[in-house]
């Protein structure tokens, strides 16, 4: 869709005031441009010309620098999900899988029989580690979810994930 000049000028002005990380900036610009086009189409359905509709929707949205300022203030308060925290939730299912595999291997070797005492001890250690990894993974997952809303839980999230990683690697 070709842009109308007033929308183009408005977007240029917002872009120049919008000092945010690239991904966030692109998202904001896309939403604003869609809003302007949706609003203009809405006004046109009520009988205004395209130019009048664009003027109306730009007035409703507000001055570009004020719109940009609203996002910058929000960006400063938003929880940081762009760092390593964003990957942590993906680790929990991985460790759960590792623990499930550990339990499966332990069960198979248990039922295959013919284990020496030493092998039985090793097998039980594997099963215990798998259970601990599973429990820590669940704790990590829950604390990571909580940490996304409350930064005070970050340390719990990192601690549980670190322990889960350590036990999983040891397994």
């Amino acid at each position: 869709m070709s842009r109308d000049e007033p929308i183009e000028a408005y977007m240029r002005s917002v872009r120049s005031s919008l000092h945010l990380p690239k991904k966030q900036r692109l998202r904001v610009l896309e939403e604003i441009e869609n809003h302007l086009n949706d609003g203009a189409a809405d006004h046109m359905r009520l009988g205004t010309t395209r130019n009048q509709a664009i003027t109306l929707v730009i007035d409703e949205l507000g001055p570009p620098d004020e719109v940009a300022a609203g996002f910058i203030e929000q960006g400063a308060r938003a929880p940081d999900r762009t760092g390593p925290m964003r990957w942590l939730p993906m680790l929990a299912p991985l460790f759960l899988l590792v623990s499930a595999l550990g339990l499966l291997v332990s069960s198979l070797t248990w039922y295959s029989g013919g284990l020496t005492t030493g092998e039985q001890i090793v097998q039980r250690t594997y099963a215990l580690r798998a259970l601990i990894t599973g429990t820590l993974s669940c704790a990590a997952y829950l604390s990571i979810r909580r940490a996304h809303r409350d930064k005070a839980w970050r340390w719990a999230a990192w601690f549980c994930t670190g322990c889960a990683v350590a036990v999983a690697l040891a397994t």
Partner: protein, 107 residues
Amino acid sequence: MRPDQLRGHLGMLLLAALASGPAHGYALSAEIRRRSDGLLAIVEGSLYPALHRLEAAGLVASSTETADGRRRRRYKLTADGKAALDEEIRSWEIFKGCVDRVLEETA
């Protein structure tokens, strides 16, 4: 109504508008205007920062879709958002009742 009277209630209104189903930003603004017979006009520049705040709090989730060659972001209420909305409604009813009683005795 004055736009500043909406301050502090925008999140609740957006959650309420999203309770009808997923929608993109402009549609939410239009829905609030429609339900209030045009009396509640959001200062639209504050609409998206409010939506982003709700998303960061886990009360709404968003996804993108492509329609007519345009990528659009749609928002939907999460389970936490539904619970938050129920709580906001309860809290609002209490607040409204208190203000009504004070005003009744004034009249």
